[in-house]
């Protein structure tokens, strides 16, 4: 039997020209979440509690695409989804289409432990959230200015973007590459598109 191990992620598909300061912000958040998980593991918390604890932290911080800071639908709203699974008995819980739940991963865990089901979505998930008394917020709590700008870019390009974090329009010095190579497609920096 080995010791404990932990890994976290904040999304794949990163714009190669992401400004350095945003790269540092991301690394700081990842390190903070790792340390949160490590101290929980050293206090003998079970794995299921640790993954929930760490993902809640990631949902609450607006930097990555989840919880506050979630990507926006074509209507400019937020529809979040999450799941959690524990390996020993392979129990799991999942939610989709939640719009007011501050920590969707905790609602997913309640589905696993407090309901006869494994997956609740949209209105059913929202009703269950109210029954369970989880923390709620208006939909605009989850919407950040960065993502409103990203949505506008995506609409201009008539594109669907996954976890790209493209720099805000005011390019700063560390985006020199972009300025030197302003190759655009549909008015967007070419780096926004998934490599073909």
């Amino acid at each position: 039997m080995g010791g404990w191990a932990i890994a976290v992620h904040g999304g794949a598909g990163v714009d190669p020209n992401l400004p350095l300061h945003r790269q540092e912000e991301a690394k700081k958040l990842l390190t903070r979440c790792l340390n949160l998980g490590i101290s929980a593991l050293n206090s003998n918390l079970p794995a299921i509690d640790v993954v929930e604890l760490v993902v809640r932290e990631l949902e609450t911080d607006p930097l990555f695409n989840s919880g506050r800071g979630s990507a926006l639908t074509e209507k400019g709203t937020v529809e979040m989804e999450a799941s959690i699974m524990e390996g020993t008995k392979r129990k799991y819980g999942a939610v989709s289409g939640v719009t007011t739940v501050k920590n969707p991963v905790s609602l997913a865990r309640l589905v696993m432990e407090k309901s006869p089901h494994s997956y609740l979505a949209f209105a059913g998930a929202e009703d269950f959230a109210r029954q369970q008394g989880v923390e709620l917020a208006e939909n605009d709590y989850f919407i950040t200015q960065d993502n409103v700008e990203m949505l506008n870019l995506a609409k201009e390009a008539n594109a669907i973007l996954f976890d790209y974090r493209i720099p805000t329009t005011a390019l700063d010095s560390s985006c020199a590459a972009e300025v030197d190579n302003p190759m655009l497609m549909n008015g967007l920096p070419i780096s926004v598109y998934a490599p073909e």
């Binding site: 080995g2 404990w4 191990a5 932990i6 890994a7 976290v8 992620h9 904040g10 999304g11 794949a12 598909g13 992401l18 991301a26 990842l30 390190t31 979440c33 998980g37 490590i38 593991l41 079970p46 794995a47 640790v50 993954v51 929930e52 760490v54 993902v55 990631l58 949902e59 990555f64 695409n65 989840s66 979630s70 990507a71 926006l72 639908t73 074509e74 209507k75 529809e79 979040m80 989804e81 999450a82 799941s83 959690i84 699974m85 524990e86 020993t88 799991y92 289409g97 991963v105 997913a108 997956y119 993502n147 949505l151 669907i160 973007l161 996954f162 976890d163 790209y164 998934a194 490599p195």
Partner: protein, 131 residues
């Protein structure tokens, strides 16, 4: 999309994934993150959390695939991760993190970069974005 995978001192694995989905997605669209076996999976061998193009991850049942090749092909964790990223995604772009019940940690991605961090009890710790 964000995720966390953990194996504790008792060898129990767990995985969790949470997301807002795709920017400019249609209302009602469901991705891989809440679908067990696609974006999230945990069993008595490993715990896996995926991110990237949800539709590709769904078609590949990517998270379960890692456990399956460990179970049926006897691959170690990093071999299993490398195999599914290389051979199961077709043209899709994705990344994943994984832990195994014997305390290993692994990740892999074919997209341009993945925000990730990992640590083990023997003191190893790494935070990165690029290859």
């Amino acid at each position: 999309t964000v995720g966390c995978v953990v194996v504790d001192k008792e060898g129990r694995c767990a995985a969790a994934t949470s997301t807002g989905g795709l920017m400019n997605k249609r209302s009602g669209r469901i991705g891989d993150s809440p679908i067990i076996g696609a974006g999230t999976y945990a069993c008595n061998l490993c715990g896996v959390s995926c991110t990237g193009e949800g539709e590709a991850i769904l078609r590949a049942t990517l998270a379960r695939e890692v456990a399956a090749v460990m179970e049926y092909k006897g691959l170690r964790l990093q071999e299993a991760v490398d195999f599914v990223i290389k051979d199961r995604l077709d043209e899709g772009k994705a990344g994943l993190i994984a832990v195994s019940t014997n305390g290993e940690v692994a990740y892999g991605f074919n997209a341009s970069g993945m925000f990730r961090g990992c640590a083990t009890e023997d003191g190893f710790m790494e935070v990165g974005i690029w290859e």
